[in-house]
Amino acid sequence: MSTKRPKSTTTTSKGKDKKADESSAGSVAGSGHPNDILPLTLTSATQELFGCRCDEDVTGDNPYKILRKEDIVQDMRMRAAVSDFSPMKQLVLDYPEDELLLVYDRDFIYGSSFYLVLTADAKERHLKPVVALGVEVALEREPSEVFATQKTSEPQPWISLGSEQEIEEESVTDSRPRLKYRISRVRREFGAPIFFSDRNAMETKDGFIECTPYQDKNFSLKQMERHTGVQTIPNLKSSSTQTQWTYPRSMCTQYEPREFSEEKKENCLQSEKLKNFVNSVASRFEMAIQQNEIMDVFFDDWKALSEEDSGYGRKADPHLKEYQSFTDLHFSKEKTISNINWHPTINGVIAVAVTERLSFEDRINGSTKLLLNPSLILFWSFSDPINPQLLLECPDDVFSFEFCPSDPNIIVGGCMNGQVLTPSLSLSLSFSLNETPVVRYCAVSGIENGHKAPITDIQWLPGTFEVSRMGVPMENKNGICVQIVTCAPDCCVMFWDIRAPRVLQTMADQRKQKVEEKPLENPHGVPNTFKHLDLTWKPLIRVSLPKIDTSGEYSPLKISLRDNTCDNHTGSNAGEYLPSSSTLQLVLSTTFCPQDGELVYTDWKLEKDNDSGRLFSAKPSHRFIIHDGQVNTVRRSPFFKDIILTVGGWTFAIWKEGVTNGPIIQSSCSQKKCTVGYWSQSRPAVLFIGKEDGNIDVWDLLEKTHEPSQTQNITATQITCIKPWIVSSKQHLLAVSDHLGTLHILEIPWTLRSPSSNEKLSMSKYFEKEVDRLVYFEKRREMRAKEKKDYEAEELRKKTVRYSI
């Protein structure tokens, strides 16, 4: 085969194909295909003739077509120059075999749509590349399976694929022999001096080369398009201004309502218009007012009905239920409880004064033993029924004690020997596990200054009062309770002040002159000074109670103070309330002798005797003997300020202040002695009476007044003290102590603690009725007495008349 450089125009096809083929072939430039193939283009006629139409007989997937040599030769003979195969006539004739391979070059890899394979080897290669590949793959697989023999490649003869041509083209070789030149010059011209001469560059053409400036168009180009980025920002502007600064000034406005002057008012009142107006309007008012009178339209009957109903349902259990009971084996064994007090602020804490259960003689006999056992006030808490929370040590048995209403940390107690003591509980009651803390009393009054008999009652004066040295009550601006009243059977009532004496010193200075001038008729004397120190505490005032009818004095047992500050409530809030001198009144129960019980009503005030200028206390205004035994309770009702309950002997009585005829209600004699009584805190008509056999009588005055509505036995011995307490609206407790030293806490059932509707009103009406009854009885008595007198006078007259006749 001749290694002919194929021509650029490889086809001789006719017509329109030629140009296209030329251009396509021209772009390829005829190189880049192997030597043993020949690209050619076949016309559609040729294609049909040989059965190798594009995309029909031969496709991209099946590009091979075998053509017979004889067919090609015959075609060349037939169509001679027109035949597509004519340029390769020689090649075809030289082809050794009978069949030629025509390959459809769909992608024009070699420049034409077909190429003819010229060598048998190439044909074989074309037809069997896949096979070869397959063989090779098979061959490859074999060694992996067998691992037997590794085929080493043997050197094979170099097969030229046309790369030599390329190398030749690239290599640089001489295309012609090199020329040699020899140049010579005359010797004399070497080294000759050089002469420069000037020459005008402009004379000759091309004498100089110049770079002429020209306007570069680049700089005058107008930029029609420009790529820039844009960002927006808010428009920010700073500015400032100055305002006029004015000083703040306090200003006030005072206003008063517009009012008419008197004459204007008179004018108005006399005008016709007003008269007409009032006449026309009066009828409406009368109707409206009468409507209100007839019926209250806003009254909720349904609700009122329900209240009574629920009362019925709960009637099943009206008894006092035992809630808890406290006894201390160590401290209250063989002792009795003389007084109970609930702690005013701490819930569930109750204080109990424990005293010895001995008569006077036994006391004297066993006094040494008594000295060893200190008397105590025990504090119980509901959380611990076995151990008391706190013990207060007292010098002697305490018969009565009270918490200070304004400061629950202060307690005052009155002892058996007449001393007054104040332990101060500055520590709050906490739960102690092992040791019950013992607190000693802070201050005790001196024995010579106190009472000479056991103090039976001790009370705090209300915080708004203050008693001066002269017995004049004054307003206490602090509102704290600072003064105490005590009484004892040694016939006097004493007022004590717990403040430091400095406050009263000034008063003492002011009145010093007066005081010094007038020695008192009181057997005990008015103290000039006193210091608030232990053992030197003296009472502020001593009041003795001279008897009304006879000489001598009463020995008081219990005090009840009338507290006037709650009743008189003016429209303006609290503020100033200066009590008049006669507002503080005492109701005292006294014993004249151990059998009788008297009730004494007095207005305590140290009066000045004008003659001698001495101070003495006025005689009590009233006294009553009602009870058969010692009056052991004098209590005011928490609902009515002027209703007092007294309990003594076998009866109890209810009194109203101001009614001096007698008690408005007096109970019948009961079987056993009544030892103590107390009003119920929540129901105005209920009271509790303790008996000497351990019963509690519950009296409901609206239900029946001839006998207690309920009796319940609490303990086996005498009841010594009853105190109710309201813990919450659901729980009302009653503390009852007995002679054996046990404190029982009972729960008051619903029937006894919730008032029926209008109970207070009913009670007040009842009391009024009773008062009326008393008054009526009094009148009747007078009338009867008068009648009797008249009758007797009449009889006498008749007798004398008869005589005379």
Binding site: E259, C268, L269, S271, K275, F277, N279, S280, R284, F285
Partner: protein
């Protein structure tokens, strides 16, 4: 001044007004009566001064409001009587063109 003329100057309208007011006052539960003029200035009262002034000022505003309410709903209508019932008492007001009459009553217990 009037006596030496030989006849009483006190005209009868005064008595009538007084009588009517006494009659109203005498009803059960009435606590006080105030006559107020159209501007809210009290003319006659049975209560103390401070209460009167307070009632007059407050009730005047209330009546104005109530009256304007009634008239806004129906311009032909007008307020004739206003009763304010509270827990403790009832305040009754009768307005007029020139005056109001205020009565405070404690309804029956």
């Amino acid at each position: 001044i009037a006596t030496f003329l030989g006849r009483k100057l006190q005209p009868r309208p005064q008595n009538e007004v007084e009588e009517t007011l006494k009659r109203i006052q005498g009803q059960k539960g009435v606590q006080g009566i105030i006559i107020v003029n159209a501007e809210g200035i009290p003319i006659k009262t049975t209560l103390d001064n401070s209460s009167t002034v307070q009632y007059a000022g407050l009730i005047h505003q209330l009546v104005m409001k109530a009256r304007s309410t009634v008239r806004d709903i129906d311009p032909q209508n007008d307020l004739t009587f206003l009763r304010v019932r509270s827990k403790k008492n009832e305040i009754m007001i009768a307005p007029d063109k020139d005056y109001f009459l205020i009565v405070i009553q404690n309804p029956s217990d």
